[in-house]
Amino acid sequence: MFETTVLPHLNSAYNLARWLTRNEHDAEDIVQEAFLRALRSFDTFVLGRDPRAWLLAIVRNSCRTWQRQNRSREAAVPLDDDSHVAVDAWSDPEAVLIKNANSQLLRSVLEELPFEYREVLILRELEELSYKEIAQIVEIPIGTVMSRLSRARKELYDRLGKATGEIEQ
């Protein structure tokens, strides 16, 4: 039952853990532990709910715990969820370069984003979860999901612009 319901979402679990820990080894450990935790709390899983979102919430919490224990590796970035991004900054001559930024550069830039930005971006762009599902997994209001995604994209865009600019020079 558990293996047929939850195990098929192993790739989603690993992808999220890999992006949030930024290394294979910790990602594997976290995913293994997350599956055991999921197994133990499987009786709280309501049939008919999306098992992938349920599993990702467990993986995300494991990554959050892991991140707090390894905080020194990351610079804390103050989140300003309530204010909106000045979208005017989008019209920018670097746009073409950013559009053509290769996968490797995109990956390294995204990996440098704060944990809070990375998680919403991965859940939205790669797992294609809805704002509602992301809100449940990250345990923030839906409005915050929207503003955080907005800020995360802006941050990604700015850093990509900076990185491509450096490469050009």
């Binding site: 790739n11 992808n15 055991l36 197994l39 499987f42 979208v87 019209s91 995109l106 762009e125």
Partner: protein, 253 residues
């Protein structure tokens, strides 16, 4: 929709999270506003580019095997010790099932223990026969107050010779007799009267030793049962218990 609102809704729009009304208002603004349209297009392109270029990390093949192994070990160990945390639901069902079985079993046992005894069941039959005899206007097959008419009537119909006594002198005139079926056999039914009341006296041979009389009441009818000289007797009537007892007493003389 203003330019400010449009830009606030930009992410929700590209993520298709806006409701229909807001989406329509958003798109109407885009057709009217060149700047917002340009920004939106650029935003879409950037977003699509990120989406298509972001690497998706596939789980290494051996990770699935490792997890399967650990899951099975955990399930086995915790299953064996019977305190696995993932078992509560399974255990809950098992407990519910055993509880149900126990309940069903107790219900059966209770019914078995509280089942009516053979004589209680027979008493019910006697009362039913009595009621039926009154309802179907089929009280007597042989209508006679003469015991000498009633007794011969039974010969050839039952395999015994019922003792037929007229108790008219005691205030219980014989009204007739008929054939009935009780205790899985044909029996004699003698009909006596007391004022407007009818008394059915059922009798048939019985291997039981002498006993009684035992009085009981079922559905408001009074019954008296006794066994004498290998004959079983059941007297049943809506007559009051003391007069029925008197009837039995007179019959016994």
């Amino acid at each position: 929709m203003s330019c400010q609102e449009t830009r606030e809704f930009l992410d929700a729009y590209v993520d298709r999270e806006l409701d229909v009304m807001t989406t329509l208002q958003f798109e109407r603004h885009l057709t009217d506003c060149v700047d917002c349209r340009a920004i939106c297009e650029q935003y879409q392109q950037f977003r699509n580019s990120v989406r298509s270029r972001l690497p998706y990390f596939q789980a290494p093949g051996e990770l699935e095997d490792k997890i399967r192994g650990r899951l099975r070990r955990t399930t086995q160990v915790e299953g064996k010790l019977f305190r696995g945390e993932w078992f509560p639901r399974w255990r809950g069902w098992a407990m519910a099932a055993s509880l149900l079985t126990l309940l069903a079993f107790s219900a059966l046992l209770f019914r078995w223990l509280s089942r009516p005894s053979a004589s209680e069941m027979l008493a019910e039959q006697v009362v039913s026969s009595h009621i039926r005899s009154l309802m179907a206007n089929h009280l007597s097959d042989v209508i006679s107050s003469d015991q000498h008419n009633v007794k011969p009537w039974f010969s050839g119909k039952v395999d015994f010779a019922p003792i037929v006594i007229d108790l008219a002198s005691k205030g219980f005139p014989l009204a007739g007799g008929r054939l009935d079926y009780l205790d899985n056999r044909p029996v004699s039914a003698l009909v006596y009267k007391r004022r407007q009341h009818t008394i059915n006296l059922f009798l048939w041979p019985s291997p039981d030793p002498d006993s009684g009389p035992h009085a009981s009441t079922i559905k408001g009818f009074n019954l008296v049962h006794w066994t004498q000289s290998h004959m079983a007797y059941w007297a049943v009537s809506d007559l009051n218990a003391s007069e029925l007892a008197e009837f039995v007493h007179d019959l016994d003389k």
